[in-house]
């Protein structure tokens, strides 16, 4: 047997100069001729035809004002509008029920389906309309006086009905005649600096914070004369007037001496828009939406 015959058949072919190459040689490396299958070419042509058909049938070519509409009249906007329409039809019944039932009955035990819908929908409404001031986690912003909605302290009441009234009509706004309203006096021109310092120390005393005991008696007298009509004799506040409870650990604008003194001297005037479209032209939410977001806020841990 000759050595040559023992070579691998492929090698034999190469040695014999038989291989089908393209004739291209780079640095001695030859390119084999491996033509593509014909059906591959037909598939490529088919995609072109498909592409032309697609641009004719569907919106495709950009023009100055929009795009070619396509023969099928397909529109993602119209699809979304249809989807929204369909969802609203699907939800029409549950929305009616949410508007009709007593707010307190929307709870996981009596009406689990309504409660679930109100919580889910309320969360979306909150994220859209409320989170700008109250924060996405509803913890408020103390520096700006946006209340924390998670705690158990409420300026205007923490039952779901009171929360509903606050959401529907807002606070201290001029758009809704039924908005909650009260106004604290600015005592800068009324009380002396000594009296203001004393009443600040008194307020820190009744809220259990560090304070200067020597002026507390004077501060108590100032408080009784000027503040107790709204904040009550014991400083526990009055939710009917939106007068905050000054004895607890929660402060709308902060409980430091500086923050309290600022409040006493210049007052505060936090506002909230009305949200009920039925109650006010400025309102943006329908009745079921106001009720859903009220239930949601009530469920965040502070509801009473």
């Amino acid at each position: 047997m000759s050595e040559h015959k023992n070579e691998h058949p492929d090698e034999q072919k190469l040695l014999e100069g038989d291989p089908d190459t393209t004739g291209h040689v780079w640095d001695g490396i030859k390119e084999f001729n491996n033509p593509l299958p014909r059906w591959w070419l037909w598939t490529f042509y088919a995609t072109i035809i498909w592409g032309i058909g697609y641009t004719v049938l569907y919106p495709a070519w950009p023009l100055v004002n929009g795009a070619t509409p396509g023969l099928l009249g397909f529109s993602t906007r119209a699809n979304v509008a249809e989807d929204i329409q369909r969802f609203e039809e699907m939800n029409a019944d549950i929305r009616t029920r949410i508007a009709d039932v007593e707010l307190a009955a929307i709870n996981p035990n009596d009406n689990p389906d309504l409660y679930n819908y109100a919580i889910q929908g309320g969360a979306a409404i909150f994220a859209t309309w409320c989170s700008q001031c109250h924060g996405s986690g509803a913890a408020g912003v103390q520096a700006s006086g946006y209340p924390n909605l998670l705690d158990d302290d409420w300026l205007w009441g923490g039952t779901v009905d009171e929360i509903y009234l606050t959401v529907a009509h807002g606070i201290r706004n001029e758009d809704d005649m039924n908005s909650r309203y009260s106004e604290m006096t600015a005592f800068d021109d009324i009380l002396t600096d000594e009296e203001i310092t004393a009443v600040v120390q008194y307020v820190r005393n009744i809220s259990g914070q560090d304070h200067d005991g020597s002026v507390v008696d004077l501060g108590g007298q100032v408080f009784y004369d000027n503040c107790a009509s709204c904040h009550m004799d014991d400083g526990s506040g009055d939710q009917f007037l939106g007068a905050p409870n000054l004895t607890d650990a929660i402060w709308l604008y902060g409980g430091s001496e500086e923050a309290i003194e600022h409040t006493v001297r210049y007052s505060r005037f936090g506002v909230m828009p009305p949200w009920s479209a039925e109650a006010s032209d400025a309102g943006r939410l329908s009745e079921p939406e106001v009720r859903a977001v009220s239930v949601y806020v009530h469920s965040l841990g502070g509801g009473q």
């Binding site: 023992n6 001729n33 709870n107 650990a249 469920s299």
Partner: protein, 506 residues
């Protein structure tokens, strides 16, 4: 070198392949695998398995709408997707193992493309006859007979294709109900579309594309090339034994008759004894064992000549081995001119050493490591299957805000606790907390610590944990504690560790 005058063709038409019928060891193995795999595929959705009321009684069901996977006694929820991931890892490692040990054995025996193409070949053979008849038919002009055979063949293929696409959708819905719905036109559009697509792909891939899918469309063979090494068993031709090939049978007969004549003629002048059949005597020493009968080429489903060496088209279906062995038996030569062997065998056998047994190729460090990894994942999954409980809990601390100060100065953290009740009845769960801190627990919307979760469902419960004013947890940054959830009827418990954020007084 090709001619320069004539422009080269960039595209070629598919060369039709007409594989001949073959019988033998590997063909029988392929029949068994074909029957078993197709049997499993078509029959599985129809097996019933009683799970009690309110649950499907289909043994294998991918219930996408309800996010459940049922497999006989096993029920997988979406959060247990790691089982699917584990099975995919096992499938991957299994392919590594089989490829490094046995080459493209998946392609040759188990790949759906191979199995269905094999089935289509079988049908084709029944209707149009074996290789020569099919070749003749292909070359012949169109007439009534050709039309009849073609229509019959396509109809049979289409029936198989519809059954294939049809069987697929039964895995995703109750099979008997869906079959009635499909027939009466009541089924969902997605079912018809799925059947339509799978029918089309089966018909086209099995009937027309065939080896083109393996050569041009499938990435797996290219990946497999990276997993094979010199010890990998693959289908190869012993060219050192077969070459030079020649239509040797007739020449051999002639030589034998010459020997027979030599007996009559008495002692020969060349000094050899009469009856000596050595190759030098018979004049066949120039020829190897290959008689160039083309049997290996004629049975090849991808249309190659294995004697050209390993080629990327070869799916190692081993039908050429069966074909060649049959011929070797007939001409009285040893089997194995075409055989399963490894690259290292070539040098070894050329050097005249005996054949290395297959198991010595298969059991080597690489395959043992793959087997160990594969088994480890498998054992892990089985263990996970047995230790998993019917209840499960995840705890997501609400960190926006991290904590809330209450009016009495206590600190409250909020947790979203998700309880999965995987038992088949509504169950009361008690949520408790393990800590040395004087924490209080409250459940949103519930009285007390007990929450009822309906059967086979998940309940999201908002849980408040409150640290009294002045307590260590309230005044320090982080406190670890553990949630416990207990199924009150069976006292099965599960727990989850989490942390409590207090006011950092530092």
């Amino acid at each position: 070198m090709s001619t320069t005058e004539e422009p080269q063709k960039l595209y070629v038409s598919r060369e039709p392949v007409f594989p001949k019928r073959v019988s033998g060891t590997f063909r029988n193995l392929k029949w068994i695998i074909l029957i078993v795999t197709l049997g499993i595929y078509y029959v599985t959705p129809w097996i019933r398995w009683d799970r009690g009321p309110n649950l499907p009684d289909q043994a294998v069901l991918l219930d996408l709408a309800n996010r459940r996977f049922f497999f006989f006694w096993i029920e997988i929820w979406p959060h247990e997707f790691y089982f699917v991931a584990g099975l995919l890892i096992m499938a991957g490692l299994g392919l590594f193992l089989f490829t490094s040990a046995l080459g493209r054995v998946w392609c040759g025996y188990a790949c759906p493309q191979t199995v269905w193409t094999d089935l289509f070949f079988t049908v084709e053979r029944w209707i149009e006859g074996d290789r020569n008849a099919r070749l003749r038919l292909w070359r012949s002009d169109w007439d009534v007979r050709k039309l009849r055979l073609r229509v019959t063949k396509y109809a049979a293929w289409l029936a198989i294709a519809v059954a294939t696409g049809g069987a697929w959708v039964f895995y995703f819905a109750d099979a008997p109900t869906l079959l009635v719905d499909l027939v009466t036109g009541q089924a969902a559009l997605v079912a018809y579309v799925t059947i339509g697509i799978l029918t089309a792909t089966t018909f086209v891939f099995g009937g027309f594309m065939r080896e083109q899918i393996c050569i041009y469309a499938c990435p797996w063979p290219r990946i497999q090339a990276a997993m094979m090494d010199e010890d990998t068993i693959t289908v190869a031709y012993r060219d050192w034994r077969g070459e030079p090939r020649g239509k040797g049978k007739r020449r051999r007969e002639k030589a034998e008759s010459a020997i027979a004549t030599s007996y009559a003629a008495g002692p020969r002048v060349d000094g050899l004894e009469p009856g000596d059949t050595s190759s030098s005597r018979t004049g066949t020493d120039e020829l190897g064992d290959c008689i160039d009968c083309m049997a290996c080429v004629n049975v090849c489903p991808v249309g190659i000549d294995i004697r050209d060496g390993q080629q990327l088209e070869c799916i190692t279906c081993a039908l050429c081995i069966d074909a060649c062995d049959e011929i070797m038996d007939k001409i009285g030569k040893p089997r194995g001119l075409i055989d399963y062997m490894a690259l290292t065998d070539e040098a070894n056998e050329r050097a005249g050493n005996p054949k290395k047994p297959v198991w010595k190729h298969v059991f080597r460090l690489r395959t043992i490591i793959y087997t160990a990894l594969w088994s480890a994942v498998g054992i892990g999954l089985v263990v996970a299957l047995f230790v998993r409980s019917d209840i499960d809990m995840t705890v997501a601390p609400v960190r926006n805000p991290q904590f809330v100060t209450l009016s009495d100065g206590s600190i409250r953290n909020t947790y979203d606790v998700r309880i999965r009740n995987m038992t088949h009845q509504p169950t009361d769960f008690e949520i408790t907390l393990a800590s040395d801190q004087p924490f209080e627990v409250e459940l949103e919307g519930q009285q007390g610590n007990i929450v009822n979760v309906p059967a086979d469902s998940t309940h999201l419960q908002r849980v408040y944990v409150i640290a009294p004013p002045g307590s260590e947890a309230a005044d320090s940054n982080l406190t670890d504690f553990r949630f416990w959830v207990e199924d009150l009827s069976t006292t099965t418990r599960t727990h989850q560790d989490t942390t409590f954020f207090g006011r950092d007084l530092e």
